[in-house]
Symmetry: D2
Subunit: 101 residues, 4 copies
């Protein structure tokens, strides 16, 4: 089951700046080999369900080990059975409607 | 790793009424033995990480098998290492602040 | 436009315990006269669009004035034009599918 | 109050393809003059609170008028009082941690 995911990780108990912790998760996605793109409120990640979920779990574990005593992640998970679709396909589909009208 | 989760499952391609599909996921949480409570925009589920995530995956698989060609789930995942906390603890903590002030 | 909303408010820069801040928002919803119910990962609120959004804005303003330097809210907003529906209707609809099967 | 927002609009009752409806919201953000960037699971929008929220309301109204009988939006709203920050600042902050390590 191929999944398109969006994840925003919010560690707390580590002060106002969360960017070093977000960077740790980025490295985990990088090392996982999964396609991923960061935006202003999270990161798009895509791949097989079990691999994507393993990366999410590793992210929570790593941040806890690095001192974040409390973590909340906000995740969107999309699966479909009618056809294959990548994250890029979704964006291209909307953009084609914008330029054609 | 104990996790407090909130999940809202949105199947599409099956008409306006999604309640029969939401009910399928409720049954999966019921059969999983995980503590769970439904609210107006999702369901709170708590338990060990792997068990909770297995239920989420089973929910997507079951809904696809039942005709939903596209599913998007919106999930909140909370973990903490400083102390044990249940979903009920969180609610009680806020309510105690409301009554004491 | 009648709206069913779910809101989870996450203040940061105020330590690990966020329950006193969540309680402040609960009081705002209480004083607004809007129907609202707290759950383990947020609060369901329903009413007219402008009134609901005014309460959300007041919540951010109040928490900033109380010392939260950074606030992130996660909000779900549902509107529909085919029929009237309350939050309770949604829950009852799923529960009827559970008991009838 | 300056706000960084992320919004994913999910219309239903209009078939599987939601991209024409997502494109309508993109045009509203475009016409509003607000800074905005689309990603695979939504759109980052930033600006003054009232202007951003007016665009969200207009998006729901326009989609209903275009035939979507039911709309659910998933929104993240970030405000902070300690310093000015744009969406681009957030991304740059994480990227600097990635390259420096």
């Amino acid at each position: 089951m191929y999944v398109l995911m969006d994840i925003m990780v919010s560690p707390s108990g580590i002060g106002i700046s969360v960017s070093p912790y977000v960077a740790m998760c980025q490295k985990i996605f990088e090392q996982s080999g999964l396609t991923h793109t960061m935006h202003g409120f999270g990161t798009n990640v895509e791949g097989e369900w079990d691999e994507v979920m393993a990366a999410v779990k590793q992210c929570h574990q790593t941040l806890h080990q690095s001192g974040a005593v409390r973590i909340t992640s906000h995740i969107k998970i999309g699966t479909r059975t009618d056809r294959d679709q990548t994250m890029l396909d979704k964006i291209t589909s909307v953009e084609s409607k914008l330029t054609s009208s």
